[in-house]
C-alpha cells in the first residue's frame, strides 16, 4: 500500500526519468549500432506521449495544441500546393535528357506518368493521393515509392541530426557556463574566439581538416560512409560545430544576464548553496533563450546536413533533396519537401510548448 501511494506521489518524477533514460539508451544503442528492441521504442514513445498529454491537459493547452496542429496541416497543404505549382513553372522536365528522345517515346512516357493530363487534374490526383498517404512513385528510381525512399533515408538523417544536436548542447552549454563564470578573463575570450570561429568556419572546410588529422594521420576514424560509431563521429562533429558555437555564445550571454538579476541575489542571500543557485535558478532560466533558438536550430541542422552527407557519403535525405531537384523528380521533390516541412513544424510546436514549461511567465492559449 505504501509503495503504491509513493508511486502515486512520484509518478511524474518517475516518468520523467523513464523518458530520459529511454531516449538516452535509444541514442546510445543506435550510436553503437546495437539491435534496438521494439519494446524500448514503444516504452519511450508511450512515455513521451503520456507525458505530453498530461502536460497539455494539466496546463489547459488542449485547445492551443489542436489549434496549432490545424495550423500546421494548413501550412503543409500550402507548401505542397506551392511546390507542386513551382515545379511546373521552372523550365526543364523530368524526362529532358542529353540524348533527345523521339516524340513517340516522349508521348509514351507522358502517358505512363500522367503528365499529359491537364494540370488541375494532376494536382487533384496528387492531393488525393497525399490524403491517402500515397506520396507517389519516383520518376528517376523506377519502381520505388517516394515513401520507401524517404523511409530508408530519413532515419539516417535523423541519426546524424540528433547526434549533432546532442553534441552541440553537450559542448555549447558547459562552454557557455565556463566562459560566463570567468567573465572577461583570458579563458572567456579564448572560448568565445573559438566559438566565433566555429560559427564562421564552413563545414566543407572543417570536414577535410578533421578527415586529414583524425582519419589519415591518427587513423582513429573512417574517412566516409555510415556503418558504425567510427564512421559517425567525424560527420557529427562537423555538423555539430556551428550549433555548439552558437549555443555557447547564447548560454554565456544569458547566464551573465541572469546572474545579475535580483532573484539570484535573493537566492544567494537566503543562504542557498552555489550548486542549488546554479542548477535551480541560473541554469534553468538561462536556458530559455537557448530553447527559443532550438526550433530554428533543428531546421539549420536538418537543412545543413546536405553538405555533410555529401562529404561523408552518408545515405541520408539531404542527398535526395538536392538530387531530386536536379533530376526534376517531381514526386521525390514533393516528398522530401513535405517531410522536411512536417519536421520543422513539429520541432517548432514542441519548442513552443516546452517554452511555457521552462518559463512559467509565458502563457500559451
Amino acid at each position: 500500500m505504501k509503495l503504491v501511494s509513493r508511486l502515486k506521489e512520484n509518478w511524474k518524477f518517475l516518468m520523467g526519468w523513464g523518458l530520459l533514460l529511454g531516449s538516452l539508451s535509444l541514442v546510445v544503442m543506435s550510436f553503437f549500432a546495437l539491435p534496438i528492441p521494439r519494446a524500448l521504442w514503444w516504452l519511450t514513445g508511450s512515455l513521451a506521449a503520456v507525458g505530453f498529454a498530461h502536460y497539455t491537459f494539466s496546463q489547459n493547452l488542449v485547445v492551443y495544441v489542436i489549434k496549432r496542429i490545424l495550423e500546421a496541416v494548413f501550412v503543409i497543404f500550402v507548401i505542397a500546393s506551392m511546390t507542386f505549382l513551382l515545379l511546373r513553372v521552372i523550365p526543364g522536365g523530368p524526362f529532358d535528357t542529353e540524348k533527345a528522345l523521339p516524340p513517340e517515346v516522349i508521348a509514351n512516357i507522358a502517358a505512363k506518368y500522367n503528365l499529359d493530363a491537364p494540370l488541375h487534374r494532376q494536382y487533384s490526383d496528387y492531393m488525393l493521393g497525399l490524403l491517402r498517404g500515397d506520396l507517389g512513385e519516383s520518376y528517376k528510381f523506377l519502381g520505388r515509392n517516394v515513401a520507401q525512399i524517404v523511409g530508408e533515408a530519413l532515419p539516417v538523417s535523423l541519426q546524424l541530426g540528433v547526434y549533432s544536436l546532442i553534441l552541440a548542447f553537450m559542448i555549447g552549454i558547459p562552454a557557455g557556463l565556463f566562459a560566463a563564470s570567468r567573465h572577461n578573463s583570458f579563458a572567456d575570450n579564448a572560448t568565445m574566439i573559438l566559438a566565433i570561429s566555429g560559427v564562421a568556419l564552413p563545414s566543407f572546410l572543417i570536414a577535410p581538416i578533421l578527415i586529414i588529422v583524425f582519419a589519415f594521420w591518427l587513423n582513429w576514424f573512417e574517412v566516409a560512409l555510415w556503418l558504425g560509431p567510427e564512421y559517425y563521429i567525424l560527420p557529427v562533429v562537423v555538423l555539430g560545430t556551428s550549433p555548439a558555437a552558437i549555443i555557447a555564445r547564447l548560454t554565456r550571454s544569458s547566464v551573465l544576464e541572469v546572474i545579475r538579476s535580483d532573484y539570484i541575489r535573493t537566492a544567494k542571500a537566503k543562504g542557498l548553496s552555489h550548486q542549488v543557485v546554479l542548477y535551480k535558478h541560473v541554469l534553468k532560466n538561462s536556458l530559455i533563450p537557448v530553447l527559443t533558438f532550438s526550433g530554428p536550430l533543428v531546421a539549420g541542422v536538418l537543412s545543413g546536413s546536405f553538405v555533410v552527407e555529401q562529404i561523408f557519403a552518408i545515405p541520408g535525405l539531404g542527398r535526395h533533396m538536392v538530387q531530386s531537384v536536379t533530376n526534376r523528380d517531381y514526386p521525390l521533390i514533393l516528398g522530401t519537401t513535405l517531410v522536411f516541412s512536417v519536421m520543422l513544424v513539429l520541432a517548432n510546436l514542441v519548442v513552443d510548448i516546452l517554452y511555457a514549461y521552462f518559463d512559467p511567465r509565458i502563457k500559451l492559449s
Binding site: D96, L101, N108, E152, F178, F216, A224, Q310
Partner: protein, 537 residues
Amino acid sequence: MPQFRWVDRLHIKFSLPLLILLPLLSSCTRERRLEYGLSLADTLRINIITEPPTLDWNRSTDTTSSLIQDNIMEGLIQYDLQDPDFKLLPALATEWSSNSDFTKWTFTLREGVKWNDGVEFKAQQVVDGWERLLNPKTASEYAYFLYSIKNARAYNEGSIKDFSEVGVRVDAEGRLVVELDQPKSYFPMLLTHSSTFPIRKDVIEKHGDRWTDPENIVTLGAYDLKIWDHDRAIVLERNENYYGDKAKIKNILAYMVNETSTALNLFDSGRLDSLHQLPSRELGHLKRRKEYRETGIMATYYFGFNTERPPMDDVRVRRAIVHGVDRKQVTDMLQGGQIPISNWIPPGMLGYEADVGLNFDVAEANRLLDEAGFKDRSTFPTLTLSFNTMEDHRRVAENIQAQLRRNLGISVELLNEEWKVYLRSLSTNPSHIYRLGWLADYPDPDNFMGIMTSFSDQNYTRWKNSRFDELIQQAVAEGDPAKRRVLYREAQRILTEEGAAVLPLYAQVNHLLVADRVQNYPVNRLARFIFRDVELK
C-alpha cells in the same frame, strides 16, 4: 566570479576521460572486415557513384545501371574489349549473318544456357525483351534503339497493336530472324546494349515493378545480384552455373559515393579498389601516381553554333570562330590528357580523320571576319556562349571567351544554366554558341554522324545539308569499311569545314585509379566495366 570555478572542474573531470575514451572505444570496434559478411580477399570493391535508377534493362538509360547489368546479364553479342576495333564476339548468339543489303539478319542462339533459376534460355525470351522494350506501356527511353526493325516504330507509337507485324520472329530451327526497314550494317552492335537483352516475361509478370529486387530477379550473366542496399551498396556474387568461363573474383561490392573527392579519400584509406572518376582539379598530381590509368573514350566535347541566329547565320563568321580557337590551349589547361580534334568522329573509331576540319589560324579567322563585313570589330555584336553549370565547363568557356577576344577582338558573354533548364533552352532557342558532348552508345561512326543530320533530334544547330544527310544514309547501308570511311570523310568535311556548324574541341579521356592488388582491370575506350576477368593478387 570565483564561485563558478566548480564548473571548470566538472568540465575537465568529464570531458577529458571522454576525449580519451572515444577513440579507444572506436578503435576496438575497428576491425578490418567488410560489410555484408564479405571477405576482403575475394571481394572487388568499386564505386558506382550513384544509386542505379533501375536494374530493369528494358528501361534504364544510364551508365551506372548498365555497369551492373553488364555483369549480371548478357546480350546476344559482346565486344572483344581487348581488341582496338572492338571486334564482335559470340555471346548468347553463336553465329549471325545478313542478306547482302543488311536488311535481314539471322541469329543462331546458344544452346544449353540456363538462367540462374534453372530455366533454359530460349529465343522467345529475346523476342519478349524486344516486345517489352517497344511496348508503349513500358515507356522505355531507349525504345528507339530498335526503330530500324520493320514496324518497330509504329508499334512503339501505338499505331500497330499486334507485335507479330513487327519484323522479328523465331524460325522453325529456333533461330532469331530480324527484318529491318532500312539497311543497317552495324545492327549486331545494337545487341551488345543492355536494352536489347532477353527477359523473363514470367518473372516480370509475377513480381511487377519489383522484379529487379535481389530476391526476385533472374539473370544469366557471370554474376548474380545478391544484395541491393538502396543508396548504399550493391553486392554481386559469382554465378557458379555461368555457361562460359566463370568469374575470377567471388564478390563485387559496389558503393555509391557521388563526391569524387570523398571517393578518393576512401581509395586512399584502402576502402576502394578502383575509381572511375577523379576530381578534375587534382589530375595534375594524381597522374604521377602508380595506380593511375587513363584511356581515351569514344566521347567528344564540342560547341555548336545556332546557325539561324545572326551573325552566326553567316558561314564566314562561324568559320572565323573555329579558326580563332586554339584547342590545344584548352586541353593544356584541363591537364587531363584530352585529345584536340578538328573533325567530328573521335580517335579510335572508323572515320576519325585528323586532317579534316578547320585549324587554328588567326590570320585566316580575321580575314573571314573582315570579309563578312565586320572590318570594324566594334560593329560585331556580342555573342552569347552558353553551358550547363559545372566547374569544368566554366573553365573551358572562359578559355574560349579569352581566346576569341584576344585573337579576333570580339566579345563573348557567358551564360550558364542548370542542366535541365539548359536542355530546355537548347531545344527551344539555343544561344549563338552552346556547349555539348556526345558519348557513343556503340562504337559505330553512324552514332556520331547521325546526330547532325537534318532529321536528328540532337541537332540543335538548325544547320541542314541535304548532301550530308544523303552521305550518312549511304554510309549506313555500306558494308565495306574502306568505302564507308570515304563517305564519312566527305560528310565530315561538309559538316566541319564547308558548313562549319560546330566547333569540335576534344575527345574525352577517362581517368582511373586502380589499386595494386587488382589485375586485368577493364580499362577500355567504350568505358564498359565487365569484371569477369579481373583478378586479385
